[in-house]
């Protein structure tokens, strides 16, 4: 079999930034109809390579070929015109417009000086139909779930007849069932000869989708192999260049008394009659589809969402939380799923972010203005926690926006752990962070629980729920549909409960 001409070939690419060699002689190509997975820890050079492919960066040396011809991609628009399309982690849809207008954004068919609306919606419909997507072109994007939004994003890319689509962690905000929709779409795109570059940290989907896998480490090309010739353990070893514990030792600490108990919690239809007990030393995994009400439960427990009904007890004593402040004072900590939007003040330093939830503990002179802060105590505490959680930052003064996802997440964790919480609520604790950091976070969660903290962990990654939790609670449509010990639990059993409500049918087919 003769080797087909790659759609795109990046040849011996190097790129340096002041002080960092981001890419060192890296080659990479995509064949027609192939899913080529690009893997590596955060900082390995994946994004830099993709930014060169999309024309956002110019390589210092090396060449780019499209269909075997050398080209120069002067900017993202240029790359786009040549059929290279990026689907970003942060979706770029306009919430206030409908599906059709988003799909056709920037390419609205004109009539006279205005827009030919009929043609616009007809074109949008045709594009969606070509991709076998059954979305209503008139539906406002604001009402779509994450998977549907992603479909719109891909449809927008598809209108230009793309040759290569780059997907950067496309499933990071999808539930398991929504992923299936995406995978089916990827299969259709493959069938049409589109080359897909797929960036992901999730082993399951990588092995399911990949034709070939390329691993980058520290800006260097480690290997490119057919997926069938690699095992999961080998792949992890290639990426991190060191051994990573793939599973977490479970249940070393004893499970103690109930710390936080919820009875009959209801909140605005999103949470319905939820009973939940969190025990000292126990990790409860909260599973369910997106929209099942898991985040809402967390927010109610943390005082960030008001309830219509129900009762919360801490150590058997009824409590009422008017605000997160009240919950924090009672020893509850919450690591939100939206790290950048809710967990961190990105433009502030590591130091500020780590101490943000505990400022009152550093007050030296409780006089005016909330008190004068003890700078030395702050620096010492931050030093302790950056060391303990292995936060890699040039200095505590560095803005957190400059850190990798894994290190950012550790900053959020440090913020809460420094308060010695009694209850730790984690919402998607490893979303968008690399394999090495993920293992560290899992070990950390275990460690925290073994010290007697009651942990509630929301996760859309079933392997994570199964491997990290002691007990699994499943929600669907705002209700708890079942629970089981994690030992012996299967993905299938959890999924069955996640679909437990007959009203919960998939909206994307």
């Amino acid at each position: 079999m003769s080797q087909p001409v790659p759609l795109v070939r990046l040849d011996h690419i190097s790129k340096a930034f002041p002080g960092v060699r981001a890419l060192d002689d890296v080659s990479f190509d995509v064949l027609p109809g192939e899913v080529h997975v690009l893997m590596g820890e955060n900082g390995a050079g994946k994004s830099t390579l993709m930014k060169i492919l999309s024309g956002a960066y110019q390589p210092d040396s090396g060449a780019i070929q499209i269909d075997g011809y050398a080209v120069r991609l002067s900017d993202p628009l240029d790359a786009n015109r040549r059929g290279i399309v990026m689907i970003y982690q942060e979706l770029t849809l306009l919430d206030n417009l409908d599906v059709g207008r988003n799909v056709m954004l920037g390419q609205e068919p004109g009539r006279g000086g205005g827009v030919d609306w009929r043609a616009l919606y007809a074109d949008a419909e045709r594009i969606l139909r070509d991709l076998d997507l059954t979305l209503d072109v008139r539906a406002p994007v604001a009402e779509l779930n994450m998977a549907e939004r992603q479909m719109v994003e891909i449809a927008r890319a598809a209108r230009r007849d793309p040759r290569v689509i780059v997907m950067d962690e496309p499933t990071s905000s999808l539930t398991q069932s929504e992923e299936e929709t995406l995978f089916a779409l990827i299969a259709r795109l493959k069938g049409r000869g589109v080359g897909i570059i797929y960036i992901s940290h999730r082993m399951d989907e990588v092995f399911r989708l990949a034709d070939r896998i390329t691993v980058l480490r520290d800006g260097k090309h480690v290997t490119t192999l057919p997926a069938s010739e690699l095992t999961r353990a080998e792949l992890i070893a290639l990426m991190v260049g060191r051994e990573v514990e793939s599973s977490v030792p479970r249940g070393v600490g004893a499970i103690g008394q109930i710390v936080l108990a919820a009875r009959g919690l209801s909140a605005g239809g999103r949470v319905r009659d939820v009973d939940l007990d969190l025990r000292a030393g126990e990790i409860v995994g909260l599973a369910g589809l997106i929209g099942a009400g898991r985040t809402e439960v967390a927010e109610v427990l943390f005082g960030a969402r008001s309830t219509d009904m129900g009762e919360l007890r801490i150590d058997g004593q009824p409590v009422v939380f008017q605000s997160p402040y009240d919950a924090i004072q009672r020893g509850i900590a919450y690591v939100p799923d939206d790290r950048k939007g809710q967990g961190l003040v990105l433009m502030q330093s590591v130091q500020t972010n780590v101490t943000l939830a505990a400022l009152e503990r550093f007050v030296r002179t409780p006089l005016l203005m909330g008190g004068v802060l003890n700078g030395r105590a702050i620096r010492e505490l931050v030093e302790v926690w950056t060391a303990r959680l292995n936060i890699r930052a040039a200095s505590p003064k560095v803005n957190v926006e400059l850190l990798s996802g894994g290190n950012q997440q550790k900053v959020v964790l440090a913020k809460w752990l420094s308060r010695n919480p009694r209850v730790l609520i984690l919402n998607e604790p490893t979303r968008g962070i690399d394999v090495g950091a993920k293992a560290e976070v899992h070990a950390l969660i275990r460690d925290i629980a073994s010290q007697g903290v009651a942990v509630l962990m929301i996760s859309s990654e079933l392997p994570e729920v199964l491997s990290v939790s002691d007990r699994i609670v499943v929600m669907a449509a705002g209700r708890i549909t079942g629970e089981m010990p994690a030992r012996g639990a299967t993905e299938r059993a959890v999924l069955a409960l996640a679909f437990g409500d007959t009203n919960m049918t998939e909206r994307v087919s």
Partner: protein, 317 residues
């Protein structure tokens, strides 16, 4: 490496504004024989104090992610209230208390309406901007109230301990105190957090609403003090004073490089912006530039300075 680069940039950026201030200073020294003169420099200091103190207040507001368009009108209203108190009671302490109290009260109104009423501060303070000027005009019937109390003028204007205008000393002390509040206290840290990401701040247990209202109250009180200094400087309170003061104050804060969206910036930066505008105003007067042209030149320089700032910081900053 990125962190180092950012720090270098930040420093060069602050020096960039400082460079503009120095350049302007040298330019006017050469262009006008009257500029680099002890009397004029004292005068420059006094003129700039009002803008400086107002810009301090504006810095707090902007850092917390809000805006205050009402400061000019509020300075005029409070100056009238203070002048009437002084006229009727003769008490400097009383005048001071009334001025600061009125400022705090207006801050409470701005804060409560904005935070508890969920009205954008742009709108709240636009309303106060209009209402305060209207009240000033109505109360005085458009007639200025002279300040005849010699002691008041001495305390807030004429005294020159160590040869420095007393109002400049007030401004410097106020700067030091406010800088300390912003950088060393829980309140200050909370302001940066809220301006940077109000949601993350709330989820970290910071009482966002309370802090924002307090910021408005503090800013209002500072504005009250600005009014107290203002009437001492011009010797009367008039409903016409301090027009466009809010615009100069916002311009000074932004010129300093503080982000209009909040969470990023400092009072030190604001000082540079204040000096730039202060020197510009003073120098253009000395050069007898027509006041219409002064507005045009000032507008152009503000836009140019911020453009240069953006370019020097690179795209996306």
């Amino acid at each position: 490496m990125t962190a180092n680069r950012m720090n270098e940039r930040r420093i060069s950026n602050e020096y960039g504004i400082l460079g503009a201030v120095v350049a302007l200073f040298i330019f006017f020294s050469l262009a006008s024989p009257f500029f680099f003169d002890a009397n004029n420099l004292v005068n420059l200091g006094r003129q700039t104090v009002l803008l400086g103190v107002t810009a301090f207040a504006m810095t707090f507001i902007i850092l917390s992610g809000e805006i205050d368009l009402s400061v000019g009108s509020v300075v005029s209203l409070i100056s009238i209230i203070v002048a009437m108190t002084l006229r009727d009671t003769g008490s400097i302490i009383g005048a001071l208390a009334v001025g600061l109290g009125a400022g705090a009260l207006i801050g409470v109104i701005n804060g409560l309406v904005t935070v508890k009423g969920h009205v954008p501060s742009f709108i709240t303070t636009l309303g106060i901007f209009s209402a305060a000027r209207g009240i000033s005009l109505a109360v005085t019937n458009s007639v200025a109230i002279p300040i005849l109390n010699e002691d008041y003028l001495l305390v807030f204007q004429d005294a020159r301990p160590l040869g420095i205008a007393v109002s400049v000393i007030y401004a410097v002390v106020l700067f030091a105190a406010l800088h300390f509040v912003l950088t060393r206290t829980r309140f200050g840290t909370s302001i940066y957090a809220i301006g940077g990401n109000a949601m993350a701040a709330r989820l970290s247990g910071i009482p966002v609403d309370r802090i924002k209202i307090l910021v408005f109250v503090l800013a209002g009180t500072i504005i009250g003090f600005a009014a107290i200094l203002q009437i001492a400087r011009i010797g009367s309170a008039s409903p016409e004073v301090a027009r466009n003061l809010e615009l100069d104050a916002i311009a000074a804060v932004v010129l300093g490089g503080t982000s209009l969206t909040g969470g990023r910036g400092s009072l030190v930066r604001t000082i540079f912006g204040v000096l730039l505008i202060g020197i510009l105003n003073n120098g253009m007067n000395l050069l007898n530039i027509d006041s219409y042209f002064q507005f045009i030149i000032k507008g152009a320089i503000i836009i140019l300075a911020v453009l240069i700032d953006r370019w020097s910081r690179g795209r996306g900053a």
